[in-house]
Amino acid sequence: MSEPITGITTPIRMEYRYTPGTATSLFLRAMKEGRFEGRRCPSCQKVYFPPRGGCSMCGVEFAESVPLKNTGTIATYTVVNVNFANRTVDLPYVVAEVKFDGADVTTSLLLKGVGVDEVRQGMRVEAKWIPEDEWDFSLANISHVEALDEPDAPLESYKDAI
């Protein structure tokens, strides 16, 4: 006789169609062309990347878009020791909060080429793009970030992004 039932799987699936707003569309169109595009708050002058429609601190709508560089600083990071569904990265790995040069907020990206015991705040990194013929309207155009052969950035330069 078969074993009694003690567990069941109850998968839940939701199918949405996502339509980005103006700021995210600006960001995604720039990504498709291999560029980083942020937006600046006219009140506090902070640059958001990825851009948003308005400044969450000032409550002001953004107007000016700002091209950003491919390089940045690790403001903070997480060492991931437990994989989740659909992740195929070898454990452990580092997810870095990267403050790209010219931006005032951070973006979460996979860090490669640096051991989990070597990563540190202030580390300078560069975004690595997937092959150009695969670029889409997606942040996934950035496969990961890698360390630059540069001295660490001073805390002062990224402390407001932590």
Binding site: G7, I8, T10, I12, R13, M14, E15, T19
Partner: protein, 146 residues
């Protein structure tokens, strides 16, 4: 400047695994074996599907004491589903029905495969068992006219 509005599918999936607990586990084990189990409550009524606690005494239900009810019963309420969704038991219009199985005093919700015009409250229906049963509510494929 007018540009095409960006739009993309966004699919969220949660592959949950759930522990059944003793009562639901026994109920599902029963379905796998083509038996529908209920619980005879402290007030004498038979509840199907069985609850995990007695509504009168709040005592935990002992899964070993579940009783078998009939695989036939009567429709106590129903609702027509004209536009089935993904994950529904049928890809054509069907009814959801509350069925009070013979020997039970409460009703179980499941799909009813019948023409809309043939369905009425009080009609006799029976379980159509799934060919392959795994210990899940879908082991009852649906109800059909008895």
């Amino acid at each position: 400047m007018s540009e095409e509005v960006l739009s993309a599918p966004h699919i969220m999936e949660f592959p949950y695994t759930r522990s059944t607990g003793p009562v639901v586990g026994a109920f599902l084990t029963g379905l796998r074996d083509q038996k529908v189990l209920g619980y005879q409550a402290s007030d004498g009524r038979v509840m199907c599907p069985p609850p995990e606690f007695d509504a009168g005494t709040n005592a935990p239900v002992d899964a070993a004491g579940l009783v078998e009810v009939g695989a036939e019963g009567v429709v106590t309420s129903w609702s027509w589903n004209p536009v089935p969704r993904d994950g529904n038991p049928f890809d054509r219009p069907f009814a959801w029905a509350l069925v009070k199985l013979d020997g039970a005093d409460s009703s179980i919700l499941h799909a009813l495969d019948a023409d809309r015009g043939a369905i009425s409250t009080g009609m006799r229906v029976k379980v159509r068992w799934a060919e392959e049963r795994v210990g899940f509510i879908n082991d009852i494929a649906c109800f059909e006219p008895a």
